[in-house]
Amino acid sequence: MNKRLLALFSLASAVLFLGGGLALADDKSIIVQSTTSTKNSGLYDHILPQFKEQSGITVHVVAVGTGQAIKNAGNCDGDVLLVHAKPAEETFVAEGHGVARHDLMYNDFVIVGPPTDLAGIAGGTSAVESFKSVADSGALFASRGDDSGTHKKEKALWAEAGVDPSASSGQWYRETGSGMGATLNVGVGMGAYVMSDRATWIAFKNKGDFGIVVEGDEALFNQYGVILVNPEKCPNVKADLGQQFIDWLLSDEGQEAIRSYVVDGQQLFFPNGNS
């Protein structure tokens, strides 16, 4: 009894184990290392089925912050990189990790906050001025603090405002060290201002009584780029399939798929891959 049970047990686990390992090998698929906003906003659920139908290629998305996505792709753990931090992307290509960088689409960042608006920035159009007011008033501000694309952008704006928020970290400046959605949850929970990409904010469901307080500044422009991981550095990269995906994203069809993604009557991403 004992032995039979054991044999059954090991057989079952061996089958499950092998089944698990083979899952990736059998089909036409690529891995995309991606920023979180494109995933959390539901964009991939909208465009990937269209690409799959046309090409037969399954796209597996690993959604992490831009910083981590670039790091993972640098370790060859992905075929395509889709993020939003142009300087870091250009470095990635210059160092030979990526083949070429293409503009894909854009949207913008917004600053959201509670109706109490302690810093008095609601209705403003200058991100830098708003940041100065937040720092002066000591109103709570929740930052990603995770080296993501959004965090890099936010740090650049603080620098422009002449404020070093890290000196006040733990006081009015709260670094969550997590993704956009998690940071929004924190911000809504503690009544702190948050800088978010517009797509994640619109699709976000736990808004509470928060609303957009600052938008429309050119400094809040948010450009997304797409890069094929360099097969010369990473022999495991499925360069053909990855390039097919990039070509499709940049084609009229792919750009139209991005354009047609609408949440609550609002377009979340604006394609500019042909420009």
Partner: protein, 235 residues
């Protein structure tokens, strides 16, 4: 509180509708965690039994180590497994990162110390009761270990359930080595993390309720199995 009420109705709705995506996620959760438990049991039960029976120099240090490893943070295990399985890592050529296999490996590392440490305690107590009898029968060590494992099987089931609970509930390790990829490596806990980050707290809670229901079902099944076997053995 509003979210909680909504979550319960959502959870029932999801289960009753037999939502295909949800079923896929539940099945993968079970596949990964049950496989991890099976493998961890094969490795850790004999180790626990050996530690219960044998006396050798350094045993105390090993016991402390195994007990301490029960507290391994899942995210650290995830990172270590990532470093090994990444294409840039020593085992990268196997191409296991972002597969269910990688998740199983991480969970085996997480639960094996729990099974080893708890089974060691259970079997050592049992050994205390039987030691004289074993001596009089002049049993060899592997026979003693076999007898202890068999005799302690009902208590060891509870040990395995503790390991299963840890495996199926953790998110830190599987989200790093699995990547939370839709239709490939998404399990209950990573789905909950994703819905939380979308701000859909009601759906996240609903998935949590479903996960709890699964844990209850597994525990109930094991309990029933144990009761039946117990009756048959002593009837």
């Amino acid at each position: 509180m509003q979210d909680l009420g909504e979550a319960f109705s959502l959870a029932f709705g999801l289960v009753l509708a037999g939502d295909g995506d949800l079923m896929e996620i539940i099945l993968l959760s079970l596949q990964v965690s049950l496989t991890a438990i099976a493998i961890a049991a094969l490795l850790a039960l004999p180790l626990g039994a050996l530690l219960a029976v044998a006396r050798f120099p350094g045993r105390g240090a090993i016991l402390v180590l195994v007990n301490a490893l029960m507290g391994l943070p899942p995210v650290v295990v995830g990172l270590v497994v990532y470093v090994f399985l990444s294409r840039a890592g020593p085992l990268g050529w196997m191409g296991l990162l972002y597969t269910p296999t990688a998740m199983i490996i991480a969970q085996v590392i997480l639960v094996a110390p729990i099974i080893a440490a708890l089974s060691r305690q259970v079997l050592e107590d049992l050994h205390g009761e039987y030691a004289e009898q074993f001596q009089s029968l002049c049993l060899r060590r592997h026979q003693i270990i076999g007898a202890l494992l068999w005799d302690g099987r009902y208590s060891l089931l509870t040990v395995l359930l503790a390991g299963f609970g840890r495996a199926v509930a953790e998110v830190g390790a599987v989200i790093i080595v699995g990547g939370n990829i839709d239709h490939l490596t998404r399990v209950m806990t990573t789905a909950i993390a994703l819905e939380t980050s979308k701000g859909d707290l009601a759906l996240a809670l609903a998935l949590g309720i479903v996960l709890l229901a699964i844990a209850l079902t597994v525990n109930g099944l094991v309990m029933a199995l144990r009761a039946t076997a117990y009756r048959n053995a002593y009837a």
